[in-house]
């Protein structure tokens, strides 16, 4: 692999597994029962248990923030800590923040609508409004860590997280940043969950205590995963992986794209990112085998990560790294029901 590819040196996460630095105990997780709002019966999802951010990151003030912003602050802090980055030794004007999300700050958007419903459009809350903007989490990360490089929030149907990884790596390659903090995440709210339910997208496991293995529908999830990318050779900590070339497209021939991406390279693992796809516990239920040879190990899409939709790929990658499938060439592969695909070459260390 080209040694100029950036390396992944730090991971932080706030997910249903808890707030954690580095790899996570990737045991099978069952969804939890929703209690944050009144539901018409049992409703389940992969939920982040409430915690006090300042207990994880001393000095962190999150009182007025959306949970998404608070989690982004915690996850980014843990990732920088895991990478062993001393921000005092780095030109912070060259540190980029790239945030991928499907719904953005939907909690405070709903709160703003509530204030409009209660008081009329002339009586809305001025403190809430700026926090409804999609870039609020990324800008809070910049503000907290004094990161003055490019600060970008993106969304991409099915592939926001993959797109963020690729575009952040591009900033490093083109000298537009010296280090990047890539984050991906979403929060689950009543309005989002009930939209999934009204659209008949939910798996049976959302409504009963049955196991999550059904491939029919998905189980919504929430959380934020942060990853630190640095140019190869400049990192101070160990690296989890090097990021190679990638492609993503809204539609087209995924097989040809993957072949072009891999060239003659031998592939050891495929990490499936089943964003928005039905949850599955088996590789067979996920169409990766048709893209790679029979001797390539497939790490299947995980329900907890698939539940995060287009922001889920970082959690898929984190879960795969945590399983320690071994060293070698890997492909992070996402495919959507609409014909889209995202493929990113990795070298796992």
């Amino acid at each position: 692999m080209n040694t100029t590819w950036p390396v992944l040196t730090g991971i932080g996460s706030v997910t249903p597994y808890g707030p954690l630095a580095g790899l996570i105990p990737a045991e099978l997780l069952e969804p939890g029962t929703i209690t944050a709002w009144t539901t018409p019966g049992l409703r389940r999802a992969f939920l982040v248990e409430p915690f006090r951010p300042a207990a994880v990151v001393p000095g962190l003030k999150t009182r007025r923030l959306d949970r998404l912003s608070a989690w982004a602050l915690v996850a980014s802090s843990l990732a920088l800590q895991d990478a062993g980055v001393d921000l005092n030794l780095i030109d912070r004007s060259s540190i980029a923040v790239f945030f991928a999300t499907g719904f953005g700050c939907v909690e405070l958007t709903e709160a703003f609508f509530q204030s409009a419903a209660a008081n009329g459009w002339a009586g809305t809350d001025p403190i809430t409004f700026p926090e409804t903007l999609g870039n609020a989490p990324a800008s809070h990360v910049a503000l907290f860590h004094d990161l003055r490089g490019p600060n970008v929030t993106i969304s991409s149907k099915s592939f926001a997280a993959e797109s963020a990884l690729l575009q952040a790596a591009s900033l490093l390659r083109h000298g537009q940043a010296d280090l990047a903090v890539v984050l991906a995440g979403d929060t689950l709210t009543q309005a989002v969950y009930e939209w999934y339910e009204a659209a008949h997208l939910l798996a049976p496991a959302c409504f009963s205590n049955e196991p999550t293995f059904s491939a029919d529908g998905f189980i919504p999830g929430e959380g934020v995963v942060a990853m630190v990318l640095e140019p190869a050779g400049r990192q101070t900590a160990r690296s989890y992986a090097a990021l190679g070339a990638g492609r993503w497209a809204a539609d087209g021939d995924a097989r040809a794209a993957v072949r072009q991406l891999l060239g003659d390279a031998r592939l050891d693992f495929v990490i499936c990112a089943g964003n928005g796809a039905p949850c599955s516990s088996t590789a067979e239920a996920y169409p990766a085998r048709d893209l790679v040879g029979e001797d390539t190990a497939i790490y299947p899409a995980q329900a907890a990560a698939a539940g995060m939709g287009e922001a889920g790929a970082l959690l898929h990658l984190l879960l795969a790294l945590s399983k320690r499938p071994g060293q070698g060439q890997a492909l992070l592969l996402g495919r959507s029901a609409h014909g889209g695909y995202a493929a990113l070459r990795l070298e796992l260390f």
Partner: protein
């Protein structure tokens, strides 16, 4: 990579604005010095203020599958590719980077907060489907049959310029043969109410960079630029409208909503864009400023220009074209990029309307009064937004 593979050019521009449904109506309105701002009560009877709306377009003919923001984006993209010849499969494989802050919020009522499930049952389900900002990029792709990499950018009012910067990066990465990059945002009660709650709006037509400025006016619209490498454009014999010589993005890391008073982050952004463009401060003939008309933004921006263009032998010409049709939020940076290229093509420096008593600065040539005619080989468009984000684009004319 050869120089031609690293040089990014603009080969198409489309726009939908309060002047009309295409770029030519925007250009005609701007060159005529027309102000498109109107009392908001025509659209929102309970709202005392000034806005600039796109009238008679777009309709809801396609139902609620597409939000108003989506439809504005689709129309601007169609306008952008209308004049493309010989693009063939390159257009189908193009990338799309669209900016928006409002996206499908325009389709959602406050009533959703009283009970989402009931609101969905009463017709809200399809309207809510257009809520995610990614829909804006996806809609453009669906509308034009484009299958390449697509993403949406949501970085408040710097979004549109950032979409163009990220689109250029996609071309450097050879991720697509062409990229449609731009922004779109619709007027809606949510944003009018939000800016009103912050007391950031001027109820009268705004006066950017004036000492008596009181705030901004909200507008709506969309603009899309077709970007490709010079090599690709030359291969298909495309007409080159401008060269995107440099771009940069920075963050103030200062305050969630207020810019740093000395404009340090924005100045750094401008300097980086000039470095990438290999362009000296003397070469820039015009800056299309962010210029919202709010007390904090405009003074920070003036300080940024003083700092970034220090050493020039003449004051730097600056204007805010938000004085013509308001602040189109996520679309602003893209619309202003289109206006900057229009200025270059027409050797026309647009004045800021209603600028009678400018912020004092010996280093800035505040454009006001009549349209100034002069050759303009290099010009810059600058954007900033809530959250401290800044973006700068340097455009140059193409020499054959």
């Amino acid at each position: 990579m050869t120089d031609a593979q690293k040089t990014i050019v603009v080969t198409g521009i489309g726009a939908v604005s309060p002047y009309g449904p295409n770029l030519s109506s925007l250009q005609a309105g701007m060159l005529a010095g027309q102000c498109a701002l109107h009392p908001a009560t025509e659209l929102y009877p309970s709202f005392q203020g000034t806005v600039a709306a796109v009238s008679a377009w777009p309709s809801h003919a396609e139902g609620h599958r597409y939000s108003r923001t989506d439809r504005l984006a689709m129309a601007a993209a169609r306008d952008a590719v209308a004049g493309l010849d010989g693009s063939g499969s390159a257009l189908r494989e193009s990338g799309i980077v669209m900016a928006s802050t409002v996206a499908g919020l325009s389709e959602i009522d406050a009533e959703i907060s009283r009970g989402p499930a009931a609101w969905y049952r009463q017709g809200g389900l399809s309207r809510a489907a257009s809520y995610p900002v990614s829909r804006v990029a996806a809609s453009v792709g669906e509308h034009l049959g484009i299958e390449g990499p697509a993403c949406a950018v949501s970085v408040a009012c710097a979004s549109g310029a950032m979409a163009i910067a990220l689109g250029a990066n996609l071309l450097l990465d050879q991720a697509a043969p062409m990229v449609l990059a731009g922004g779109s945002d619709a007027l809606c009660p949510f944003t009018l109410s939000g800016f009103n709650s912050l007391q950031a709006l001027d109820t009268e037509p705004c006066r950017p960079f004036d000492q008596n400025r009181k705030g901004l006016n909200i507008g709506e619209g969309a603009a899309v630029l077709v970007l490709e490498t010079l090599a690709n454009a030359a291969r298909r014999g495309a007409r080159i409208l401008a060269v995107l010589r440099g771009w940069a993005m920075t963050n103030d890391a200062f305050h969630p909503t207020a810019p740093h008073k000395d404009g340090a982050g924005l100045a750094s952004c401008i300097q980086r864009a000039l470095e990438m463009a290999e362009c000296g401060v003397e070469e820039v003939g015009y800056v299309n400023a962010h210029g919202t008309g709010t007390p904090l933004n405009d003074v920070a921006e003036a300080n940024a220009y003083q700092s970034a263009f220090r050493g020039r032998s003449r004051p730097i010409p600056v204007s805010s074209t938000k004085s013509y049709f308001g602040h189109c939020l996520g679309a602003a940076g893209a619309l202003e990029a289109a206006i900057t290229i229009t200025a270059m093509q027409n050797s026309a420096l647009f004045p800021t309307l209603r600028l009678t008593d400018p912020i004092e600065s010996a280093d800035i040539d505040w454009l006001r009064g009549e349209l100034r005619r002069q050759p303009l080989p290099v010009a810059m468009s600058v954007s900033a937004g809530f959250g401290g984000s800044n973006a700068a684009l340097v455009f140059g004319s193409h020499r054959i």
